[in-house]
């Protein structure tokens, strides 16, 4: 194959991998929107908060140490050598569940039957609250996320694909980041797990019932409050996974919350209520923006992938306003 074709394939592959990373963020939005009709503005900040908490536990940081030191005049920062990664992940997940419980107890409970815009505004408040809480608990400095996932280009893949080009071609082989491959495997496991959970467990069926019709679900004895805690916990879990993978790419820093911007075109394209939509939408956006950057970018000065993703999503909206997998809403007047 000619290097030009191989480069095209490489761009598509890397686009697919980037798309998986976008899908991971989009999944959190979908879970909450599907079950409660809330567009969770705080999903990106939840990923940041989860990642901060995980690294904090992992490295043995004392939460609120700046606050404690300022009040009591102490000088504590760490409690010791930290803890094993797996334990830190479990504890971070515990914090996200606790957050879901507190959120339901102190915010959502009072907003039942409110307009969607009110719920949306509440999540904006939540985003600012969580960002401040994360800063207060763990500090604003950039932290390294190291949970043992591989990263860097795959030598094996490079060597394999180098042979696909003509012998006299100046070709280095295809590049693929092993972290992205890990993300794709994790995303596949996550989606399979979520699908099995929602299809084959009583709680999953209750979730789907609530998603279909709140009042009908309530009438058959399903606790809306319990379901909301579960859904927000699941979204917290997805945020933790996204935080780990994005944190491994860029370090855990406050701009991590901006990954939500990457999920929006995915949601527009895939629909707000479909888990497969989030995955397929992410893949289309990922490939589309990478191809645009590689082949159209040089013609117009580059750096077009951010807005191109939105353009692509909007173009889809012209033909399918509900998104690829979204539910078509028909209302009689």
């Amino acid at each position: 194959m000619s290097p030009a074709i191989l480069n095209f394939i490489e761009t598509c592959l890397n686009g697919l991998m980037a798309g998986v990373m976008y899908s991971l963020v989009a999944l959190g939005f979908v879970l909450i929107f599907k079950a409660s009709g809330i567009f969770n503005f705080a999903q990106g900040v939840m990923a940041l908060f989860a990642a901060l908490t995980l690294v904090g536990f992992q490295t043995g940081q004392v939460p609120f140490s700046h606050l404690i030191n300022a009040i009591f005049g102490t000088d504590i920062h760490h409690w010791g050598g930290g803890m094993p990664t797996i334990l830190a992940i479990v504890l971070a997940m515990g914090v996200m569940v606790l957050l879901a419980f507190l959120l339901e107890r102190f915010v959502l409970k009072y907003l039942v039957n409110q307009e969607p815009i009110i719920l949306f505004m509440a999540t904006i408040g939540l985003a600012y609250f969580l960002e401040g809480l994360g800063d207060l608990m763990w500090g604003a400095d950039i932290k390294r996320m190291d949970v043992g996932l591989p990263s860097g280009g795959s030598f094996w893949w490079e060597d394999l694909t180098r042979a696909w080009a003509p012998a006299d071609a100046d070709y280095y082989g295809m590049y693929i980041d092993t972290l992205d491959v890990s993300a794709a495997i994790i995303a596949a496991i996550l989606v399979t797990g979520l699908t099995l959970f929602s299809q084959y467990t009583a709680t999953g069926r209750a979730l789907r019932a609530v998603a279909d019709d709140h009042q009908a679900a309530l009438s058959v004895g399903i606790s809306l409050r319990r379901i909301w805690v579960i859904v927000w916990s699941l979204a917290g879990f997805v945020a933790l996974v996204a935080g780990i993978l994005w944190g491994a790419k860029s370090g855990v820093q406050f701009s991590l919350s901006l990954i939500a911007l990457k999920a929006l075109p995915v949601l527009i394209l895939g629909g707000f209520t479909s888990i497969p939509g989030a995955i397929v939408g992410g893949l289309i956006i990922g490939v589309g923006e990478k191809l645009a950057e590689a082949y159209v970018g040089p013609l117009v000065g580059g750096a077009i992938e951010n807005w191109f993703a939105y353009m692509l999503a909007l173009a889809f909206l012209l033909f399918r306003p509900q998104g690829l997998y979204g539910e078509k809403i028909i209302e009689r007047i």
């Binding site: 030191n69 950039i142 580059g302 750096a303």
Partner: protein
């Protein structure tokens, strides 16, 4: 730390409401301790505040007059930065100097400070052509500017190639903003002059996803990559460079792409990465003993004392030192200690920080010498190249302070500033 800040802000607010401030020399700090850029904003603000505290505690202020350092949180947001300027410019007897610490805020403040008669020091950022003091009477950007940085990076690359870049290639990975585009014109001129190929690779804000850009670099294999980045863009670029196994000693960032926060997330992969800097790093200077004694140990530090010696802390400290030295010069010229904003500007315009000055301040070799005059508000333009040692987690200077190509930089700055003057009906000063 945060409570200390809140208390400080509350105290400043109380002073403003209660009556005249006690401190006479007002050096407001437009800082950002929150938001995505806080990891860089916090140590800079701490360094700035700690040096001023040192001067107050050890020397009793400047010429016997204490310095007031009201801090206002901008969050690196231009609108908030302008609000901060408006809310602090009349603190006490009036602000004497501003350090906006943001190119966006700097651009907004240039007409305001010019109208209000307050000096603006955009230290190695902001509008590069502000080095022309004939046009920008109230704006200073010493000791170096982005165009100086571009020429120094090119000359360092040329040194690595034995003196010539003929037939070589350089890719500029830049933040797709006014800041990131600053070096393009200079690099294009140098490309023609020195015979290297220049490839421009923009990255959109915030720069968390740069796969396309680094795939392009991997395919084109430029001999050098320069970076004009900020925030998360820096750490992602360094990680991606490590991922594609780009030779890190051929990857050179501007000074805003060269703090510990930029390299630490990439771990060992960042080893060998280079950046420009205009201050020394580490705490191996006598002044730090005084900061430890009079500021940190005395419980008067702006932070928790853990940032001392980091790139941004030292940079903030250096900025404060330049402000204090300008105030000393202003007092000398005015013949009295209680200087006003116009006199402070005169001091900045007569600033002369020599090696002997730095030695006397306990900062030998800490920064380039700075000599400012009516026409030249940009200082010497010198900077050094530092390299990251990932195992020791330290930056090490690999060059002395290198001069920039001031002939080229001045030529470009004159063109740009004269165009600005014509657009804004500014009559350039004579500077006889």
């Amino acid at each position: 730390m945060r409570l200390t800040k809140i208390a400080t802000v509350a105290a400043v607010a109380a002073m403003m409401g209660a009556g005249p401030a006690l401190a006479d020399l007002v050096f407001p700090s437009l800082s950002y301790r929150t938001g995505p850029y806080a990891p860089n904003g916090i140590p800079f603000a701490d360094g700035y505040a700690d040096y001023l505290t040192l001067i107050n505690e050890r020397d009793g202020g400047v010429g016997g007059v204490k310095i007031d350092n009201p801090e206002c949180e901008t969050g690196y947001n231009t609108e908030k930065g302008v609000e901060c300027y408006e809310s602090t410019k009349n603190v006490g007897t009036g602000a004497l100097i501003y350090q906006p610490l943001s190119t966006g805020i700097t651009y907004q403040l240039i007409p305001k400070v010019t109208a209000d008669g307050i000096s603006l020091h955009s230290m190695a950022y902001g509008r590069t052509s502000a080095m022309n003091g004939k046009v920008f009477k109230w704006v200073f950007n010493y000791p170096a500017n982005y165009w100086d940085g571009a020429t120094i990076a090119v000359h360092h690359a040329a040194d690595m190639e034995g003196g010539s870049l003929e037939g070589k290639s350089i890719a500029l990975v830049y933040h797709n903003s006014a800041y990131g585009k600053e070096p393009i014109r200079t690099l294009e001129e140098m490309s023609k002059e020195m015979g290297f190929k220049l490839t421009l690779i923009p990255v959109d804000h915030p720069g968390q996803e740069q796969k396309s850009q680094w795939l392009q670099i991997r395919r084109e294999r430029p001999d050098y990559v320069f970076m004009w980045g900020w925030g998360v863009m820096n750490s992602v670029a360094i990680q991606e460079a490590a991922n594609i196994r780009y030779p890190m000693d051929h990857f050179i960032g501007i000074w805003w792409s060269g703090s510990e926060q930029d390299v630490l997330p990439a771990g060992d992969g960042a080893n060998g990465y280079k950046s420009l800097n205009f201050t020394g790093v580490g705490t191996d200077y006598p002044v730090f003993d005084d900061i430890q004694k009079y500021v940190v140990d005395a419980g008067k530090a702006a932070g928790d004392g853990t940032n001392l010696g980091t790139v941004q802390y030292n940079r903030g400290m250096y900025a404060a030192m330049l402000a204090v030295e300008a105030a000393k010069k202003a007092q000398e010229l005015a013949g009295h200690a209680d200087i006003n904003a116009a006199e402070m500007r005169d001091g900045m315009e007569a600033l002369d920080v020599t090696d002997a000055t730095l030695e006397a301040l306990g900062m030998p070799g800490f920064g380039p010498t700075v000599s400012v005059d009516c026409a030249n508000h940009g200082g010497s333009g010198a900077a050094l190249v530092q390299q990251w040692d990932a195992s020791a987690k330290t930056w090490n200077a690999v060059t002395e302070f290198m001069p920039s190509d001031r002939e080229l930089v001045t030529k470009l700055a004159m063109e740009d500033s004269e165009a600005f003057a014509a657009e804004n009906n500014i009559e350039p000063r004579a500077c006889e």
